[in-house]
Amino acid sequence: MQVEFRNIHKRFGSVHANKGINLTIPGGCIQGLLGENGAGKSTLMKVLSGFITSDEGEILLDGRAVTIPSPAGAIEQGIGMLHQDPLDFPPLRVLDNLLIGGRRGLIPDRRAALKALKEIETQFGFALDPDAYVDTLTVGERQQLELIRLLWLGARVLILDEPTTGISAPQKVKLFAALRKLAAEGRTIIFVTHKLEEVYQLCHRAAVLRAGALVAEIEPPYRTETFISAMFGYEIPTPPRQPPPTTAPLLELKRVTVEDARLQVGPIDLTVKAGEVIGLAGMEGSGQDLLLRLCAGLLRPTGGEIALGGRALHNATYHQFLRSRVKFMPADRMTEGLVAGLSLTEHFALNAEVHGFFINYKQAEQTAVERIAEYSIRGFPESPVESLSGGNQQRTLLALLSAPLHLLLLEHPTRGLDLESAVYIWKRLKERARADGTAILFISSDLDEVLQYSDRVLVFFAGKASAPLPAMQTSVEELGLLIGGVPLETVRATVEMRLPEEPSR
């Protein structure tokens, strides 16, 4: 089935998440969809799968304009979405999960469902026990179940949102084979991913979104550079940089490993000097976020040692990290950073280092007024944080970090800020690093930002970190290749071959 997006616009408050997207995907095609977090991929896919409705524009299936009011409406039109976290019912059995989606009749037809399950399984070489409880299955098996369910419901367009995170290599092979088979049958597959190699292996064509707009449609033969420049863009020239500090080591990681349900990270060896700024680059979910949370004390290492100023911290609680003057700024502002319903004044009161029993609201308001001016937050002391725009919430988060610190961990510190504010924020951060000796580790999907403000850069790929690269001796292009999973030696060889005359930065 051919899927056509025409001029899709979607705004969330002040955020323009989809800016007039036009894209046609022919039937039988496996279409890759790439872009950094916040680029608008999920929004576009949610519009197609009926989770949200677009503000403007239309969707055409086989040339026919359709309205998709809900996920149930989407599956009626033949559109099914496989979510990154399977939307299944873990306490129920496999067969019940299948039946839940069934549309007809009061009494579910178990026999027919079982037959369909077996048929689809044989077709794709899956083997699920229909009586197994879903919470005993692996992520890969749950994904197979979802796929079976969608096919059983008659999906002719399948959306897969980063389906390979958290599944094993053989399961991935099986999944890809199934997808190729489905495409050959004329079904349309939209494959959302961060991993270029998967695009190379699987997709017939790829589209790249950046900042809500479709910036490139790419067909084979694929070149990594094309993708990287489309996804990250590098237009802003880098101003002169400062030399790295030559201070004593502050943070020491020795053979540290950490993991979550999807990914094992490490082992990582890293020594960070006081006042040093380390940029962590990589496709989202490559392990840099886990490392940052590990250094913040929000995750415990599964192995290795962490020391701050010579003090071992690998068994410390988050509050011990805080007392050691380590602070973390999350990317997800309203989930992890700010408390909706509380005002700016209340946030600054909570953030006060020393306090008595009663709140001195006069003083807290005074602090709020000062910080609002200092970080040019557009809001009032009594404004509830959720009423602020994203950029102003970001400034608030940064303003909450103003106590003296040894180590500062930042997830996307300037996301949502305009260039001028970003430059200002970084000026402040660099001052803290150089003057107070605060070491900074930060994640950013903006490679220019990473290069410009880091002393050294760690590039993550599938849970492995590169050796720390001095930012002076690398380039956006080199980082781009490393992010795409090209080994360092190959990168060096390629870049030198192609750009022999470029002066090292």
């Binding site: 988050y318 309203m334 509380l342 209340e346 029993f357």
Partner: protein, 346 residues
């Protein structure tokens, strides 16, 4: 603009109250009872004489204590359904402590004071149990609360039939009454204790100050609104969850102690009299704003007292008060929901 929003909010609440009254009137019509007569009976039943007004105030005392405790747990984002059990345990601890003073020759004032404190400890411990189950066992406080309520009720029954049985009598009605001097002194010719009233007002005032002006209150609110962000900001959220439970338990326990020392003077099977659940309704109806607790608790108490006349005069069951109390919360919440819907769309 803020003021405007407040007026609209009040208006919405009044609409909700109007709808609830209309709903109850419909039910009365359906049962063939005259709605206006019923409502006027409710009013005269509650405010018809000084004695009745005093009864209303006395009824509001435990309700206010329960409500103020619940305002703390609601602020921390907790559904402390276990408050009934906490009131009950407060009553049990109070009776237990007072029994120790029987024939001891200690001044009654000391006995009462110890009894009250014991009641608060009892309620606090019972609430702490729900808190610990939540923090360390991952048990939702609604489930543990329900369970602990049953345990508390069973404990009263066991005490009434077992260790604290009235000598020579096998009665469900309660334990042997405590010596009358162990009751809170009442005002002359009135069934009300000024001490109890002062205690309940003190409870409301303390909760108001706690939530408005202290760091504990602010941290409780932050934990309730976004526990994850609060944790990342450095608030020990588990500790504050426990603090909220214990503070609520202390007030609930005090409500139980008041039930013993100001009303029943012994342990009876349903000593909590449903004031805990009613407190939940009041807290929801006032949208968790402490200052409204007193008038609304008085209003609910008036419904309880006023409905006593219904069976006698109209042969209606006195549970009509409960219907009205429930309908009020339901309709006010519905109106709130509708408003939110409209705001999201607009």
């Amino acid at each position: 603009m803020l003021k405007n929003a407040r007026v609209v909010g009040l208006g919405a609440r009044l609409i909700g109250i109007g709808l609830a009254l209309a709903f109850v009137a419909l039910i009365l019509l359906a049962t063939g009872a005259p709605p206006f007569q019923a409502i006027s009976l409710l009013i005269t039943g509650a405010f018809g004489s000084t004695r009745k007004i005093v009864d209303v105030i006395a009824t509001a005392v435990p309700l206010l204590l329960a409500t103020s405790g619940l305002l703390i747990t609601f602020a921390a984002g907790l559904w402390n359904i276990g408050i009934e059990g906490q009131i009950t345990l407060g009553a049990i601890f109070t009776v237990g402590a007072l029994r120790l003073f029987v024939d001891s020759g200690a001044p009654p004032g000391v006995a009462i004071l110890v009894g009250m404190v014991a009641g608060m400890i009892g309620g606090g411990l019972w609430a702490a149990l729900a808190g610990l189950l939540k923090i360390y066992g991952g048990v939702n406080e609604i489930f543990s609360g329900l369970g602990l309520n049953f345990v508390a009720t069973s404990a009263t029954i066991w005490l009434i039939f077992g260790p604290w049985r009235r000598p020579g009598v096998g009665s469900m009605s309660g334990t042997e009454p405590l010596p009358p001097e162990f009751a809170l002194p009442q005002l002359p010719d009135m069934r009300i204790s000024a001490w109890a009233v002062v205690l309940s007002l003190l409870g409301v005032a303390l909760v108001y100050i706690l939530l408005r002006g202290t760091y504990i209150g602010l941290k409780l609110k932050a934990t309730g609104r976004n526990a994850r962000a609060s944790f990342v900001l450095g608030i020990p959220t588990s500790r504050y969850t426990l603090v909220a439970f214990v503070l609520c338990g202390l007030l609930a326990g005090l409500a139980g102690a008041v039930q013993v020392t100001a009303v029943y003077n012994r342990l009876i099977p349903s000593i909590s009299s449903g004031y805990g659940f009613l407190g939940l309704l009041v807290a929801m109806l006032i949208n968790y704003q402490v200052i409204w607790a007193i008038p609304v608790a008085l209003f609910y108490a008036a419904l309880i007292v006023g409905s006593i006349q219904l069976p006698i005069q109209l042969r209606l069951d006195s549970s009509l008060a409960g219907v009205l109390q429930g309908a009020l919360v339901l309709f006010v919440l519905i109106i709130d929901g509708v408003r939110q819907r409209l705001r999201e769309r607009g």
